[in-house]
């Protein structure tokens, strides 16, 4: 649709998608399309559609993988809300860490990306350094952080003691501090989020800042009234993916708690709960019910955010899918 001809010749009528000048209308090669899409199509049916239906059905059954599923109606859901304190514990932990880490991650990503834009020289070197941690395999990164945050021989507490903190926290070994360890671990791997913000920041036309500074806007005002509004689509995107991701938060918490024996379940999150229900106690039906509640929660969060976006997200071209 970008050719000059199609720009000059108006479409014949609404709904006629092919411009008049298009070379002889080609027959849609359906066989070829089907052939090309088939890997995705069969994967979609076999690994998404069928499993979704099956897990919805299993969520109403008692199912231990060996015997066939046994219909028990809403019992799994009843058990979840009224008889399973671990469910509430996991849900609370997940909500807690999302509420703190999602805004922190966004703020930190903006900050690091902004810091990169201030460099006139050497930006790509710094960018590489900031990005590398996000590439490190999660298990290895978590191992390293359990060492750094080790109360006995970790570097963090050594530094804290040097600057005069008398009783530094026990981090992963202390139920009230372990989540902060995970949050800091997440901030260390900010690289990929930062790159999106960096691309956004570099896209802001310089002329806007120049105009603003001619009008006498100071640095903070420029940031608040030019940068932030233009960044809102990126902020919105990372908030949505952040919420979806945090309900699936598993590996870091699992590895960290298996390194330090997390007896009080302070690093027990929603995805951990599903994992234990399914693969430790083999209550597949109950795990399926938990998974469906997870889906509903993420859907609600996403819809609420989509609803509110009209109030604070500015799309320069006025649409979500450009």
């Amino acid at each position: 649709m970008t050719s000059i001809a199609s720009a000059l010749v108006p479409p014949r009528k609404r709904g006629a998608s092919a411009p008049a000048t298009k070379p002889a209308k080609l027959k849609t090669p359906w066989l070829f399309i089907f052939f090309c899409m088939s890997p995705w199509l069969f994967g979609f049916l076999g690994f998404t559609v069928y499993p979704m239906g099956a897990s919805l059905y299993e969520s109403f059954t008692k199912f231990n993988l060996i015997d066939s599923p046994q219909w028990i109606g809403l019992d799994n859901y009843h058990r979840m809300f009224f008889e399973d304190p671990d469910f509430w514990k996991a849900l609370w932990n997940t909500v807690w860490i999302s509420a703190i880490s999602i805004p922190l991650r966004i703020g930190f990503a903006i900050f690091t990306a902004w810091l990169l834009t201030t460099a006139k020289r050497g930006r790509s070197i710094y960018r590489t350094i900031f990005f590398i941690p996000s590439m490190v395999p999660t298990v290895a990164a978590t191992m390293v952080f359990t060492v750094i945050f080790n109360p006995a021989f970790g570097t963090i507490n050594m530094l804290l003691q040097k600057i005069g903190v008398k009783n530094p926290p026990y981090w992963f070994m202390d139920p009230s501090w372990s989540k902060w360890g995970l949050i800091i671990l997440g901030l260390w791997g900010i690289g990929d989020t930062m790159l999106i913000f960096l691309a956004g920041l570099l896209d802001v036309p310089r002329s806007l800042y120049e105009a603003a500074s001619l009008e006498g806007a100071n640095g903070w005002q420029q940031f608040r009234y030019i940068t932030v509004p233009l960044m809102t689509p990126v902020i919105f995107f990372s908030a949505v993916t952040g919420v979806i991701g945090s309900f699936q938060y598993f590996t870091q918490a699992y590895v960290a708690s298996s390194q330090v024996n997390d007896f009080s379940h302070s690093m027990y999150f929603y995805a951990t709960h599903i994992y234990y229900a399914a693969f430790q106690s083999y209550e597949m039906g109950y795990a399926a019910a938990l998974a469906w509640v997870l889906l509903v929660i993420t859907l609600i969060c996403t819809l609420v955010m989509l609803r509110t976006q009209k109030r604070w997200v500015h799309y320069p071209n006025g649409s979500l899918f450009k």
Binding site: S3, A18, T28, P29, F32, I33, F35, C36, M37, P39, W40, G43, G46, F47, T48, P51, S55, L65, L115, L116, A119, G122, Y126, T128, I129, F130, I132, P133, M135, V136, P137, T138, V139, A140, A141, M143, V144, F145, V147, I148, A152, F153, M158, W188, D192, I196, F237, I244, F247, F250, Y254, Q259, A271, I274, A278, F279, A291, L294, L295, T302
Partner: protein, 297 residues
């Protein structure tokens, strides 16, 4: 120094130079501030990596001593890690799964991405939106029936549950490739059609050669995704120690080996080293991929 306007009065000239000096001084201060900030942050980001490599060559006693510099360097750790735990086997397992995943993903994702970007057909937009929305679907919802399928096929424990799904084109890789493909003007494929190319020839001979970097990006992301994966191997490989990958092995390190921080860091270093090396050789592809889709792996 040249005067901006010829024959300025001495006072104006002096004032001009003072203004210039002041501006330069401000710029210099700004540069110092910016680099101070950047260097501080760099130290913060690098420190954990520095610590891994430093502790990995420390003695057992020194590693529990808060030291930040090895004395002496125990390079032998890098030999011992292969004998203390089956590290070579873990590495080969991980490599096998990652390479197979990469092949599967590339082979199966290029055709859908082509069809979704360079062919007009009814339902294309709907299909693309469905693909995008499956990216948002939490894996837990499909996890249990998929596990049941694999267990009925007697594929657990084996590498198959990790490899086979990658041959069914993941949503993320289709999305990433499509974002690259749409940047190729449709005039090129239209011209090919007029010249009598069929669609298969168009895809293989014209489009694929033009998007080699994109294919490299998808291959890399899928390789690293499999290399870094923990949850998949945890579900499908844990029961058979011979199939363990690096992630599973590293997490079980404490149980297999006596608690030895330096040896654990040696293993971690070897685990992350290939990733960092790959990154340095393919930085551009990487950064483009992340910026284009907003997601990593």
């Amino acid at each position: 120094m040249r005067q901006p306007v010829p024959n300025m009065s001495p006072e104006a000239w002096a004032e001009y130079r003072a203004g210039l000096r002041k501006r330069r001084w401000r710029q210099f201060l700004q540069m110092v501030a910016s680099h101070t900030g950047l260097i501080t942050m760099s130290v913060v980001f690098i420190f954990p990596l520095y610590l891994v490599f430093v502790v990995s060559v420390m003695s057992f006693d020194q590693a529990s001593n808060r030291d930040l510099w090895p004395n002496p360097f125990i390079w032998h750790n890098y030999v011992e890690v292969f004998t203390a735990v089956p590290f070579l086997k873990w590495t080969l397992n991980t490599l096998f799964v990652s390479v197979m995943t990469m092949i599967g993903t590339v082979v199966s994702s290029v055709p859908p991405a082509y069809v979704l970007s360079h062919l007009q057909w009814k339902g294309r937009q709907v299909t693309f939106v469905i693909i995008l929305s499956t990216m948002m679907l939490p894996g837990q919802v499909t996890m249990i029936p998929v596990y049941v399928i694999f267990s009925k096929l007697h594929w657990i424990p084996s590498f198959l549950p990790l490899i086979v799904p990658s041959f069914f084109a993941g949503a993320f890789s289709i999305f990433l490739l499509r974002q690259f493909f749409v940047s190729i003007p449709e005039e090129i494929t239209d011209a090919g059609r007029i010249d009598g190319c069929n669609e298969l020839q168009l895809m293989l001979r014209i489009i694929i050669p033009l998007v080699k970097p994109a294919i490299a990006a998808v291959g890399l992301f899928s390789f690293l995704g499999a290399w870094n994966d923990f949850f998949g191997p945890l579900l499908y490989l844990v029961e058979n120690q011979d199939l363990w990958t690096l992630g599973i092995g590293l997490n079980a390190f404490r149980g297999l080996h006596h608690v030895d921080t330096s040896m654990m860091m040696t293993a971690s270093a070897l685990f992350m080293l290939p990733v960092i090396i790959i990154f340095f050789f393919s930085q551009k592809v990487f950064i483009e991929g992340v910026t284009l889709t907003g997601v990593k792996g």
